[in-house]
């Protein structure tokens, strides 16, 4: 049961100071060079004032775009492994949205499915999430259609909701309580008439997701996917900004003196993503790749992991150079006859 408190806006300075004194790095949305991205911040003044969403998602905190898995040096007759210690910097994500916080669950489903990914787990173990409810949304958002919402608590340790004088604060987990314990005087009891739902953005449900998931197997051969993907350029923007997309490539770099193995983001939209060494490509068309993107998130994830692979944040839609609006496409699919 979440404990409901209130924080004044001025108390954030003290909260940040307490977090930093506790040895934690704070990542929050910033406006640098006109772009809103998650960056390390020192004080609340560094945090972007009016950022509805960052372009990139918070997954970079636990699944970086380039990560060293191991390194080695070669000397005559020997190989010296440099296994980077899987120690992650204690980090607090501040001001990410409920949809992005929900994304960590989908990442966890893959990274702890059969093999436990030590790199992901080390970073998750050192991560705390102070998310910020949404007071506005746009046409790309559809969190409420996929089991989320502008004030949803899944994946957060503390959820703040902006009010007139500050924030409502829901302390949701042991990690949240540990943060509260760093500066308990900042958390006063919430007023009795505090009603979070009134403060949130309105995000109407756009489509019936369970019905769509049930329908997808029958739509596999539909001409719909070719029609929807005609304008798709086959870049990786949607996959890379997505809070739940988890595909990666492993690259070896080295020479006679040594080298390293790196993990890096990959995307199913790339034309060669499923290219076999034989030359055969089971997804040879952009239509097949687009279809797979939808099915992976809305059919395969529920089958395999019991949850969706999409949090309805809309980042893919906003990042797409040709406005592949996922909500629109899903609505169309749910209405398709064949």
């Amino acid at each position: 049961m979440a404990n409901l408190y209130q924080l004044s806006s001025t108390s954030l300075d003290a909260l940040f100071a307490a977090l930093r004194a506790d040895g934690r790095r704070i990542l929050a949305p910033t406006d640098r060079d006109g772009h809103s991205e998650l960056n390390p911040v020192q004080t609340p003044a560094d945090v972007a004032r009016d950022c509805m969403q960052t372009t990139l998602s918070a997954k970079g905190a636990v699944f970086p775009k380039v990560e060293q898995l191991l390194g080695y040096r070669l000397a005559p007759g020997q190989v010296q492994l440099a296994d980077p210690e899987r120690r992650a910097e204690p980090t607090v994500l501040f001001g990410i949205r409920p949809c992005e916080a929900a994304g960590f669950q989908a990442l966890d489903a893959v990274f702890n499915w059969d093999t436990r990914d030590a790199f992901f787990n080390a970073r998750m173990a050192n991560l705390a999430v102070i998310a910020m409810s949404c007071t506005r949304s746009d046409e790309a958002c559809f969190c409420t259609s996929v089991g989320g919402g502008p004030g949803a608590t899944g994946g957060s340790d503390i959820l703040l909701t902006p009010t007139a004088g500050g924030y409502l604060a829901e302390v949701l987990s042991d990690r949240g309580r540990a943060i509260q314990a760093l500066a308990p005087e900042l958390f006063s009891p919430a007023p009795a008439d505090a009603h979070k739902a009134d403060l949130l953005a309105q995000v109407p449900v756009a489509f019936d997701q369970p019905a769509l998931t049930a329908k997808l197997p029958a739509l596999f051969d539909s001409p719909l996917w070719e029609e929807q993907s005609l304008r798709c350029l086959g870049c990786g923007a949607c996959a890379f900004v997505c809070p739940t997309c988890v595909c990666f490539d492993i690259q070896e770099e080295g020479d006679k003196q040594g080298g390293r193995r790196l993990r890096t983001w990959d995307a199913c939209g790339f034309s060669q993503f499923t290219l076999h060494a034989s030359g055969h490509n089971p997804r040879p068309t952009q239509a097949a790749r687009w279809r797979q993107r939808v099915y992976h998130k809305f059919s395969i994830y529920p089958d395999r992991y019991g949850q969706l692979g999409c949090v309805g944040c809309g980042k893919c839609t906003r990042a797409c150079p040709v406005d592949m609006n996922l909500r629109e496409h899903l609505l169309q699919a749910s209405q398709a006859q064949r």
């Binding site: 970086p64 775009k65 380039v66 990560e67 060293q68 770099e253 020479d255 390293r260 790196l262």
Partner: protein, 145 residues
């Protein structure tokens, strides 16, 4: 010995002119710095612009590219194509902030043993003053978590 910085220079030279010219430097017993590592290609026209970028990425502090004088190319026009490519690439490199002062282009013929020695000496001296090209070599580490 002192810990003086010794620049590593990668030289891309054509087989028919500059490589032969460098050979002449040796047979003429002209001394020149050993900082240069010579890579022999059939013609400057074969030099892909990425070879230069790779040399820096591999740790070169400076690069020399040298071939036949215009009109003397063993393959008639390879060096003309190379010249165009270098004009465009040098412009791009400078625009991106790569230190083009560390790259020396020259025409050295098979008879110009002395010129080769002089070129390498000058380039070595100026690179020694510039120091190692660490800002480029650090690139491979930047952004890796």
């Amino acid at each position: 010995m002192t810990d003086m910085f010794e620049p590593k220079i990668t030289a891309f030279v054509c087989n028919w002119c500059t490589y032969a010219g460098a050979d002449l430097t040796g047979t003429s017993r002209i001394k020149y710095p050993s900082n240069v590592r010579v890579l022999r290609l059939p013609c400057t026209g074969r030099i892909d612009f990425m070879l230069l970028a790779k040399a820096f990425a591999r740790g070169a502090d400076g690069i020399i590219i040298s071939g036949c004088h215009p009109n003397d190319c063993h393959y008639t026009s390879g060096n003309y194509h190379a010249r165009r490519r270098w004009m465009v690439y040098r412009n791009l490199m400078d625009f991106m902030g790569i230190d083009t002062a560390r790259i020396t282009f020259s025409w050295v013929s098979a008879a110009e043993g002395a010129k080769w020695a002089e070129l390498v000496s000058e380039v070595t001296t100026s690179l020694r003053a510039m120091g190692p090209y660490t800002e480029y070599q650090e690139l491979a580490l930047a952004g890796v978590e």
